[in-house]
């Protein structure tokens, strides 16, 4: 029940923001902040509940209510450790998103926060839905407000970017809907029990070819969202053109729903088909790592550069998931968290720079260290995190993934390691272009304000903490090793 309250708080908060902004835009900001903070508090409060739960490998909160009984659709939400840390990430980044749009958004404030909160609601719904119909429902709900965020508050080429984002993801999700329906009917015909419930559908026995086709329906949707290489096309545009908070949510959360979907649905429901397709997916993942890194290196647009680093990092997720080793799986979860934090932070930085310099072009920046030492210091830490420097969270994630993959697929994992080197190259280039060298911009810039400092400090601290004490996270997702038979090794 508490989970439904979390969703309701966000949905109601969004509507309240819209209404309140008619009178006073500032009120909308505070409402949004309070709403997301309340959800974060609830999510934190769930921690002791989780600890107290005797068997910490499973669903410590499980709530089911009838929704459309005629179809076997129920409002089934549940939480395990994996979903829980994703929820925490969602609300943490949610607060930062609200904070970073505090000054940036000046017009239609109420509607902006409405969209922001509804996107968050959709994302949290995706992470807790245990009914495939509900899952699809939330999967779609997070898209529309995101689309509006991009198209209304985005940059110059926002229309193109927003359409591209929407059409790509929608094509994938309709395929997923078809696959969900196929699964529903196959399961119904086998057992006579027509239901969309995740736990029931897990038991479906599929012939190899049906399993392959149905899995592809799911996988394509998730891989588009992730994104993996042939489907990554929408990402640089959407990330580049979105407002700062939009980029933060896209990079930090929306991409993670793709990874979540693969881990939660593709592997457990289609174990054999997933094992069959695994070599190809690892190949795609490695291609993404290298290709994303190379493209990131050649970008001059700061936000597009960061967007391509996401492609590269998400390649690691794909490699880790499909290498079927429990170490790599722990790495994947760490990567999901730390990439969300570090890339989110980089986008925030890009947003702050843009607010001051009115450009995203790194050839027009340079020498900013002298005028903005605080931002520069933060930037070094965050870029190094993104590049995978030891002692920071990303290092552990990528190291685990490579370690887990090496035993299965040494050749590809060696190639993937190149990605780490390349990431150092593009990160250093970015730092050098923006903060070092001669001063190019003549616009007087001020250093970070207290609000911005709080945002970046919070992110930096969490990245460092995750790098030094990853064990709690790894503990919470320990049970993921049971989702696939090959993972036991």
């Amino acid at each position: 029940m508490i989970l439904i309250w979390m969703l309701c708080i966000l949905l109601a908060g969004g509507i309240l923001c819209w209404l309140a902004a008619q009178r006073q835009p500032l009120l909308a900001r505070w409402i949004a902040l309070i709403t997301v903070s309340a959800d974060l508090l609830i999510a934190c409060w769930l921690f002791p509940v989780y600890q107290a739960f005797p068997d910490n490998s499973s669903w410590f909160i499980n709530y089911q209510a009838n929704w459309i009984p005629a179809l076997g659709v129920s409002f089934h939400v549940a939480l395990d450790g994996f979903s829980h840390i994703l929820l925490l990430l969602t609300y943490f980044l949610g607060i930062l998103a609200v904070l970073c749009s505090w000054k940036e958004v000046r017009e239609r404030t109420g509607f902006y926060f409405f969209n922001l909160l509804w996107t968050l609601a959709g994302i949290s719904g995706v992470f807790i839905a245990m009914d495939l119909f509900l899952f699809y429902f939330c999967w779609e709900i997070m898209l529309i407000p995101m689309f509006l965020l991009i198209i209304l508050w985005g940059d110059v080429r926002r229309h193109y970017a927003a359409y591209k984002f929407f059409l790509f993801t929608q094509a994938g999700s309709l395929l997923m809907l078809l696959a969900i329906l196929a699964l529903y009917f196959i399961h119904g015909q086998q057992t006579g029990n027509y239901t969309f419930d995740y736990f029931a559908l897990l038991q479906t026995a599929l012939t190899p070819s049906t399993a392959m086709w149905t899995m592809l329906g799911f996988l394509i949707a998730f891989v588009i969202k992730l994104p993996a290489v042939p489907f990554h096309n929408w990402l640089p545009d959407a990330h580049g053109e979105a407002p700062t908070a939009g980029s933060l949510l896209l990079a930090g959360l929306l991409l993670k729903t793709g990874a979540y979907g693969i881990i939660r649905f593709v592997l457990p429901i289609f174990p054999q088909a997933a094992a069959d397709i695994a070599p190809w997916m690892i190949l795609i993942g490695v291609a993404g790592i290298i290709y994303g890194a190379l493209l990131a290196f050649s970008q001059t647009d700061l936000k597009r550069l960061i967007a391509y680093t996401s492609v590269s990092h998400m390649g690691f997720v794909l490699v880790g998931v499909f290498s079927f080793s429990s170490i790599a799986m722990q790495g994947v979860v760490m990567q999901i968290l730390t990439h969300g934090l570090s890339t989110g932070a980089l986008f925030l930085m890009a947003g702050m720079l843009k607010e001051r310099l009115h450009t995203r072009d790194i050839t027009k920046m340079g020498g900013l260290w002298t005028s903005m030492p605080r931002l520069g210091g933060m930037a070094i830490l965050l870029t190094m995190a993104s590049a995978g420097l030891p002692a920071l969270g990303n290092f552990i994630a990528e190291f685990f993934i490579l370690l887990g993959t090496f035993s299965n697929n040494p050749v590809l994992s060696i190639i993937a390691t190149l990605g780490l080197i390349l990431s150092a190259v593009y990160s250093l280039r970015m730092m050098q272009k923006v903060f070092m060298g001669p001063l190019i911009s003549t616009v007087p810039v001020v250093d970070l304000s207290a609000r911005e400092l709080i945002i970046l400090t919070a992110l930096s601290i969490s990245i460092v903490v995750l790098g030094l004490f990853p064990q709690p996270v790894i503990d919470t997702v320990h049970h993921l090793s049971t989702i696939h038979p090959l993972l036991h090794e």
Binding site: E140, A162, L167, L174, L181, F185
Partner: protein
């Protein structure tokens, strides 16, 4: 024939009476408002009559009619639509100098035609119902005859509808020649002997052509955009909802009685029609700058989707089709209602420029339009999503993969132009404010409220479809 058998027909008799009452009111020179209110009350009476006769269902009125649950369901949807359209008509016609009174006679007669289609089980009643619908529509389309292209639209509809009627008659004659009966069940009895006869199949083919014309399916869709654009907006809403529901209802009954879906050839023909409707409708809509034309093309595509639910010929398909029609009518009514509300005395609010930044000027109206567009696009939280979902699930159940794949592909194409309109709604507003209506605040307010209720229904059905679904099942069981 005795008076007892007339009882199930009571709603239809009242519907016919409504038009006569309107004529009398006009003869006594009563005002538009009186006619409007009386018409509204008569329609409510029809609803009550339907409720009153519910226990007698299902009842056959030989030889032409059968009043069963399915007929009651579709008639109910039709009456609901005409209630809403009648309300929209008031503010639309009150603004214009033409005398709006005769409009209501024709509106009720056309509704009667559509309602008769839903209870037909015989070629004669099918033909008369269809003609009653079309003949009234000729005049309705050209009603504002000195407006831009009303007469052109009326003429186009007249010629093509007459042509399709000729096809229909020819097909009926051929089938009659082979089967020796015009009653659907009579044809069904003779089927084993005649089903492979070329004349019979040709007859079926020409009937499909005629129905295709009425439903504006590709390749018989050429009239749709011009007629949608040229007609007065409430009439466009009528064509898009009631006329198509009636035609689809009779197609459904015909198919159910003679088990149309058993013939691979017919299935192939319908698949081709469905696929081409989805593709052509969506692609032609992509570049439209006129909202009414855009909705015309989108309705072509939507009936393509509907045919995907029709193809399997199973119970799930019928349910999906009924749900789809309900969701689709509510959606379109709210879209056309917004157009009506924004239309001024001189201009129909049909070009997209008028809608630029509407959300900042008229937030409620624009939100309603946005919701209905989301529903047309099949986005969750709206009825359109569940409608599409049911169609998909009916298709998956019967494994008609090719039309399903096309459905998915074209839905994505379709999204583009719905999003384009929504994007226009949210654009930066530059143009002057749309003038407020001055006529009759009561009707203005009630139109407003109706729109809000319609949008609310879209949400409600989109989130809790259980009740509607149960209702549909209950009705469909009565046969």
């Amino acid at each position: 024939m005795n008076e007892l058998q007339l009882i199930p027909l009571l709603p239809f008799i009242i519907l016919a009476m409504a038009s006569v009452v309107t004529i009398l009111l006009i003869a006594f020179r009563l005002s538009h408002t009186v006619i409007q209110v009386t018409g509204f009350l008569m329609m409510c009476l029809v609803v009550f009559a339907t409720w009153y006769v519910r226990d007698t269902l299902p009842e056959e009125v030989p030889p032409l009619f059968i009043v069963d649950g399915q007929a009651a369901l579709f008639t109910g949807v039709i009456i609901f639509c005409v209630l809403v359209i009648g309300l929209f008509s008031y503010i639309y016609f009150e603004e214009r100098e033409e005398n709006p009174k005769e409009y209501y006679i024709l509106l009720f007669l056309a509704t009667l035609g559509a309602a008769i289609l839903t209870i037909s089980q015989h070629f004669i009643s099918l033909f008369i119902g269809l003609e009653l619908l079309s003949v009234s529509l000729y005049a309705l389309i050209a009603y504002l005859r000195n407006r831009n292209n009303a007469v052109e639209a009326g003429m186009k509809y007249l010629v093509l509808a007459a042509l399709s009627s000729a096809f229909l008659l020819f097909g009926m004659a051929l089938i009659y020649m082979e089967a020796g009966s015009m009653k659907f069940s009579g044809i069904a009895e003779k089927l084993p002997q005649v089903s492979s006869s070329p004349l019979f199949l040709m007859g079926l083919g020409t009937i499909v052509v005629a129905i295709g014309f009425k439903l504006a399916l590709v390749p018989f869709h050429l009239w749709a955009a011009d007629v949608y654009q040229g007609s007065p907006t409430p009439v466009t809403a009528f064509i898009a909802t009631i006329s198509k529901i009636g035609t689809f209802a009779v197609l459904l009954r015909f198919a159910q009685t003679i088990h149309l879906q058993q013939y691979p050839l017919i299935i192939a023909i319908f698949s081709v029609i469905a696929i081409s409707s989805m593709i052509v409708g969506n692609i032609l809509a992509l570049r439209q700058q006129n909202l009414k034309r855009l909705l015309a093309y989108s309705s072509i595509a939507h009936f393509g989707y509907l045919l995907v639910a029709f193809l399997p010929g199973n119970e799930a398909g019928t349910e999906a089709a009924a749900f789809y029609l309900i969701a689709y009518s509510i959606t379109l009514l709210s879209a056309f209602g917004v157009i009506t509300l924004l239309s001024s005395r001189e201009h129909e609010a049909e070009t997209l420029d008028i809608y630029t930044g509407l959300i900042w000027r008229r937030p409620v109206v624009a939100t309603i339009l946005a919701i209905s567009l989301f529903s047309l696009a099949g986005i969750p939280l709206t009825a359109g999503f569940l409608a599409k979902f049911f169609v998909l699930s009916a298709g998956v159940q019967q494994a008609v993969w090719l039309p399903l794949a096309v459905l998915i592909l074209t839905s994505v194409i379709g999204l583009y132009y719905y999003l384009r309109v929504i994007n226009t709604l949210f654009g930066t507003s530059g143009t002057a404010d749309v003038m407020q209506k001055t006529v009759h605040p009561f009707f203005h307010v009630s139109t407003y409220i109706t729109l809000v209720v319609l949008a609310g229904m879209l949400f409600w059905i989109g989130v809790f479809p259980g009740l509607v679904l149960q209702g549909i099942r209950l009705f469909l069981l009565l046969h």
